[in-house]
Assembly symmetry: D2
Homo-oligomer: 169 residues x 4
């Protein structure tokens, strides 16, 4: 739902297009009969939370838990992050070192995660790998107990879809 360039874990604001998409998403979910979500999951990036809130306002869904996790974050693009005019490589770009101020280990948003798990760069396979425990221990139990779940994420949700396809195959 974000913009040009490899934004990755940069916490940029939701673009006007992204805002319009979030509202349209809310309208579409309403049309399709999703009257009430029981629990909502988002990444730790502001644009993911804001997208969820904007869709939920459209749906008039207010009183349910909204749970944020770094494990739903966009793919980390290493030292390509913030670069414009480059496209996402298939492998993990050169990793930021942990002493680099741009590394998530130095970002207070991630102070509740041990730095040994925070990536300095990721391939799509790495995204699947770090998203899987959150799916298994947090999202899936809600789905399995019959709850209606909304997940707001990034292009990285392709990793979740990939994971689900593998499970259902």
């Amino acid at each position: 739902m974000a913009s040009k360039g490899l934004v990755g874990w940069q916490d940029v604001d939701l673009s006007p297009e992204g805002q319009a998409e979030a509202v349209a998403c809310g309208k579409l979910l309403k049309e399709k009969g999703f009257a009430k979500f029981d629990v909502v999951f988002t990444s730790l990036l502001g644009r993911s939370v804001k997208s969820a809130w904007m869709a939920l306002m459209e749906l008039e869904n207010f009183a349910m838990p909204v749970i944020n996790s770094w494990r739903l974050n966009e793919r980390h693009f290493g030292d390509l992050q913030g670069k414009e005019g480059v496209s996402a490589p298939t492998t993990a770009p050169t990793a930021l070192s942990m002493t680099d101020s741009r590394h998530p280990a130095n970002d207070t948003h991630y102070r509740n995660v041990h730095k040994s798990s925070l990536p300095g760069s990721e391939s799509l396979a790495n995204v699947v790998e770090r998203m899987t425990p959150f799916w298994s221990d947090n999202i899936a139990p809600c789905v399995m107990s019959g709850k209606t779940v909304l997940v707001s994420g990034h292009a990285s949700l392709r990793a979740l879809v990939k994971l689900l396809e593998a499970i259902l195959a």
Copy 2:
């Protein structure tokens, strides 16, 4: 932050004035240096959650828990609820019976609360009484452990202020 008439526990949408107030509140908090809230509390009423989200978007605060509780709801105005042209009485209005479809015991929003605690009408003293356990067991521990806390509520927050004044006196 809502409108004319005794709205109480009716889950009406946030008025345009209420939306403007929420945005202005976010701007003011930013100006005053409240850069980051660690935890946010709201009532279970949509207009309270929406006010919080709108203020938080203005503050660019996205990744913190937002906790909803009926104990922060507006005062329940019993059978006066929804009436226009009446002002809030000092005592509890005639209570809705538990078999009345308008009683919170028959509203799925409150299915996680035992109906014996849900009011069919309230005086301001009743509001203080049902808000106090939530203050003591949930909000106060956050404040006491040094967290910066945002509470989004209703005219009923006067009950919280009253409670705090009594504590500090």
Copy 3:
């Protein structure tokens, strides 16, 4: 499950008789077919937690949440607490002042509760009053969603039974 004298909120060890009762309680629950508890509630007093653990060991129930709350504590007997040879008065005894080192506000076990809610003395009616929010917001939702619940408390559980009888009447 404790001893002679008005023990109240004093955190005394579970007596040998209390331990035998906890084990017997576990055996009885097993005989009666309570194979698995989904969630367990105890007071904050050690003898209540220990009773629960001993009964659960007998039942071979290990992997469920055990939730502790001061709201399930024994009745607070004010300045009669610790006295032997006295029996529980019907009204609240003389209250401990908040500056008294024996007042719960000065006990680190209760640091997560705002001191304005912590009692310096209680009547049985006061116990019902402070237990009710915990019943409504925490225990009842588990029961209502079909979970099998174990509550380990004190003579004060009479307050819970009283509350339930009033609800069911």
Copy 4:
């Protein structure tokens, strides 16, 4: 803390030797000055929870959260599980198929985990891998915020030690 044979995820009772070790562990922690644990983590296996409870009784530590997770379970020994007279192989033994009644996917203890994450067999490296997210997202944040933490596990805690050594290296 358990017995002969490759017990793994079999939920066998704590042996008398294991019970004596748990009590001795509590005594030792007391001697060394660990007066109060703020939070306790155990596996989902009964012998790990029971060990924690027995040590905590010795320490007179009762009112703190005790959190159970399958991610702290013993290594899963696949089809070698329950075999006596065999020693733990360095690689993962032949995996139980998901249709095997002994596979954790068919055990109600694990109904809150998506079956795609539950192992049918593990190498020590697999144990490190599934333990790591729990360390990063649950245990480490407690340690980093200054809490005193007790972890009760299995030979598999060697995986945690290994992980910590790699982090500190």
